[in-house]
Each structure stands twice: as structure tokens, then as C-alpha cells.
């Protein structure tokens, strides 16, 4: 843990992220570009026709939305327990990004559900728990905004983020626990993926692309926040 924290002071983060960011951005462009192109060129599914192409956007968005919540919760925990300033900045910067990916997961899912299920929306376990994920993100952001004192806002919001973690396994296992229209797990399952390679490859590339994009934007946002805090402390030092 100590070695991890050595990387986590703002100065060191600025140095390391300056080196890593160009590579991360490059990897985002390559994987996302390849995923989208291969996805658009993939043949129609024998059951779902061309709507299967929505999968290459929907699944990565939903995956990234959940992973982002994991980052938010982990950063909140480290911020609460060890009072690490960079952890709190990470949590603060992850929330709006996670909300964007959650909205994308919901909207693309809806556009996929209408032609395949005959409904834009159903109140089943998967969709409802995923909508709750959006409200958790929005609640986190609202709570931070509502409290003026930065460190109090951080702690209150971190508690909310940690309480919300129970929703992650609910989303994950909802398709097993309850009867649903949403299809079950077809990639990370015992016995290997049940999805054809012509769909699996674009999906994996696009999933990597979304993941890299999240971490690229997160790193830039953390850098922004560090610069803003530095500017604020300079202004305070100058004030009479």
C-alpha cells in the first residue's frame, strides 16, 4: 500500500500522468476506432439482425459505467480511511464521467430494446438497478455541490458512494436472480464466451476503447483539479 501511495502525491501524479497520458490517449483511439469499424462491418446476427451492432456501444458503456463506480467507491474508501487528498480528487472526477457512461448504457439499451423486445423500457431487475446507478452518480455529485466545505463534502459524498456499492452486485447478478427480458452473461462465464468471434472481437476492442477513454479523461480531469487547487492556494496566499 505504501508503494502505491508513493505514486499518489499530486506532484508525482502530474509527472507520471504526463508520460502515461499520450500512450493512453493513443491506445483509446486505436482500440475504439478498430472496435467501431469492425463492429459496423460485422455481419447481422441470425436472431437480432443488424441491431446487434448496438451491442458494441451498449455493453462497453454499461461495463465502463460499473467499473467507474468501482473506481469511485475505491477512491472514496481510500479518501475516508487514509484521508488521502488525491483519492478524493479521483472520486470527484470519476463521478461525472461515470454518469455519462451510465446515460449511454441506458439510451443505447433502450434503442436496442425497442426493436428486439418491443419496449423502450421495462421495470425489470437489470434495467431498474442500472437506473439506480445513474441516481447514485447524480446523488453523489449533488451532495458534493450542496456542501461548501470541501473536506466535509468529500467525506459525506464518500459515505454515499460506499453505501451505493451494494448496487454493483445487484446489477451484475440481476439477470440470474430475476426473470427478465435482458439477456444473460455471454462473455465472462464458466466454459468461455458463448458469443461468435465475429462479434466478440469488435466487442472486446470497443470495451477496451471505452475503458481507456474513461481513464484518459479521468487523468486529465485529475490534472485539471490539481492545477485549480494550486491556483486557489496561490490566490489565497496573495490575498491581504
Amino acid at each position: 500500500m505504501a508503494s502505491l501511495f508513493a505514486f499518489a502525491n499530486p506532484k508525482r501524479f502530474m509527472d507520471v500522468s504526463a508520460i502515461v497520458l499520450p500512450w493512453l490517449a493513443g491506445a483509446t483511439i486505436l482500440t475504439l476506432g478498430a472496435g467501431v469499424v469492425l463492429g459496423l462491418l460485422a455481419p447481422p446476427d441470425y436472431q437480432q439482425g443488424t441491431t446487434v451492432k448496438i451491442m458494441f456501444l451498449h455493453v462497453p458503456a454499461a461495463w465502463t459505467a460499473m467499473m467507474a463506480y468501482g473506481v469511485l467507491a475505491l477512491a472514496s474508501l481510500i479518501g475516508l480511511v487514509w484521508r488521502h487528498p488525491l483519492a478524493d480528487v479521483t472520486a470527484k472526477c470519476a463521478a461525472p464521467l461515470g454518469a455519462v457512461f451510465t446515460v449511454l448504457g441506458l439510451v443505447t439499451g433502450s434503442l436496442w430494446g425497442r426493436p428486439m423486445w418491443g419496449a423502450w423500457w421495462v421495470w425489470d431487475g437489470r434495467l431498474t438497478s442500472f437506473l439506480l446507478l445513474l441516481f447514485l452518480y447524480l446523488g453523489y455529485m449533488a451532495l458534493r455541490n450542496a456542501i461548501d466545505d470541501e473536506s466535509r463534502a468529500a467525506r459525506a459524498a464518500a459515505v454515499l458512494a460506499l453505501v451505493g456499492v451494494v448496487n454493483l452486485p445487484i446489477i451484475e447478478f440481476s439477470v440470474q436472480w430475476w426473470t427478465t427480458l435482458h439477456q444473460g452473461e455471454s462473455i465472462f462465464r464458466p466454459g468461455g464466451p458463448t458469443i461468435s468471434p465475429v462479434f466478440l472481437w469488435p466487442l472486446l476492442l470497443s470495451g477496451l476503447g471505452y475503458t481507456f477513454l474513461f481513464f484518459t479523461l479521468l487523468a486529465i480531469r485529475i490534472r485539471t483539479e490539481i492545477l485549480e487547487r494550486r491556483a486557489r492556494s496561490l490566490l489565497l496566499a496573495e490575498a491581504p
Binding site: T51, L57, A61, A231
Partner: protein, 49 residues
């Protein structure tokens, strides 16, 4: 080409999904970069004198 654009009759669902994904992600990238440039400029202005 027109066959590709028609998406086997599902164009009304497939293209909006790609459109809104490109729009929202593009907006996120633009907003993130704009805020970063602003913070850099602000700090540079403070550190100059």
C-alpha cells in the same frame, strides 16, 4: 452503400445509438480538454509575476 445505411431495416435504432454515443463522448472529451486548458492558463497567469 444505401443497403449499409438502411441497416437491414433497423436504421432508426442503430444510427441514433451511434449518433448519441459519438455526441455524448465527444462532448465529454471537449469539456474535459476545455477545462484543462482553462486551468492551465489560469495557473500560468498567477505564476507569471
Amino acid at each position: 452503400m444505401s443497403g449499409f445505411l438502411a441497416m437491414g431495416g433497423y436504421a432508426a435504432f442503430v444510427w441514433p445509438a451511434y449518433g448519441i454515443s459519438a455526441l455524448l463522448l465527444g462532448f465529454s472529451v471537449a469539456a474535459t480538454l476545455r477545462a484543462y486548458a482553462k486551468a492551465k492558463a489560469q495557473l500560468a497567469a498567477l505564476e507569471k509575476p
